[in-house]
Amino acid sequence: MIWQRVTTIFLVCVICLAVVGYFVGLNHVGPNSLSEKSAGLPTDSSTPHGSHIVDDNGDALEHPKLIAAITYSEIPQAAMGPTDKFRAVAKSLPEQTSYDLFAEFKPSQADKEASGRIRASRRAYNGAPPIIPHAVQSTTDAACYACHSNGTQMAGLKASVMSHQFLANCTQCHASPPPTPFQNIDSEVATSFVGLPAPHEGRRAYPGAPPTIPHSQWMRENCLACHGGPNGWAGMESTHPWRTNCTQCHAPSAVLDQAIAADFIPMLPPLDVVNP
């Protein structure tokens, strides 16, 4: 009986100490700067995440397998993942899936719907520049361009292809995710805005006719960004990828492309035929 109580008290003390220790540890360590120190590629072994063994003379010896211990409070900011040694060596991207231009393709309706849902969740209306769905730390466009110029696939994720020409300020139009320190702040808004949904398909003059392009081509000049190539959208691919001149058959919309819009098609007056 008494032993049970003593054990309980002892355990309570241990837990309390652990909790106090945790918070004291958090409070008494300053900020871990995200500045240049940790941002660049490590070039020598003296970077904060380097791993060292100290020999008898006090000189640091590098040991590639050792990772320096850090405090709890540093964990959220600490660079996890590969060691400095690994990161210091240039890597090539994993081999990209090959794309057979001449293979006939049968897009699946389920894929198309799934792709459509993902796309819709990332833009306020069809035609709006999509928001950036992943964390971004770099503000240079080169970082965006590295993956999004031709698209890439890695670790089950896909970087989509830029559908427009290179423009010099990506975040001017593409809204970034919340800054890391504020990512848990509730950013919901109450709105009744309903955006233009993505079109299901273009119009066909008759069954079998090539459908018209149901969206604006402005900022979507590169059809293959979505409708083909190895990094396009599942279910939205062209069934005939070997035909590479899309507008040869698919007519764009003058209204949506903001071409000179005429309310009626100007024509010469009808022929004046005199009946005998």
């Binding site: 849902r117 993902i118 796309r119 819709a120 969740s121 990332r122 769905p133």
Partner: protein, 106 residues
């Protein structure tokens, strides 16, 4: 034996009347909670995944119901390894993937 916390959203606050609440409450596996304008919180405690899907479909077909939102899902299966619990944070993640609603839980 899944347990889910759901929000049943009605078309308007008028369609969410006492009759609608009674209908929901009449199901033995459903427990009705707080109610606000056009929505009401429910907990579904079902014996199997199959029953869970049945209840989901049943609720969707109730008159006036426009949407069902998932707030919480707990799989509590003795035979399988451990529990998977989904709370608000997971829901946000799911939403970012654009898979918002039926994220395979029911």
């Amino acid at each position: 034996m899944p347990i889910s916390g759901l929000v049943v959203v009605f078309e308007t606050s008028e369609t969410l009347d006492d009759l609608a609440i009674e209908r929901l409450a009449s199901h033995p596996a459903i427990e009705v909670g707080q109610r606000q304008l056009d929505r009401v919180a429910v907990v579904v405690d079902s014996v199997s995944n199959e029953q869970d899907i049945e209840i989901w479909e049943w609720m969707r077909r109730l008159p006036g119901v426009s949407d069902i939102k998932i707030a919480f899902v707990g799989f509590d299966d003795d035979n399988k390894q451990g529990d998977v619990e989904r709370g608000d944070t997971n829901q946000n993640a799911a939403k970012q993937d654009g898979l918002g609603e039926h994220c395979g839980t029911i």
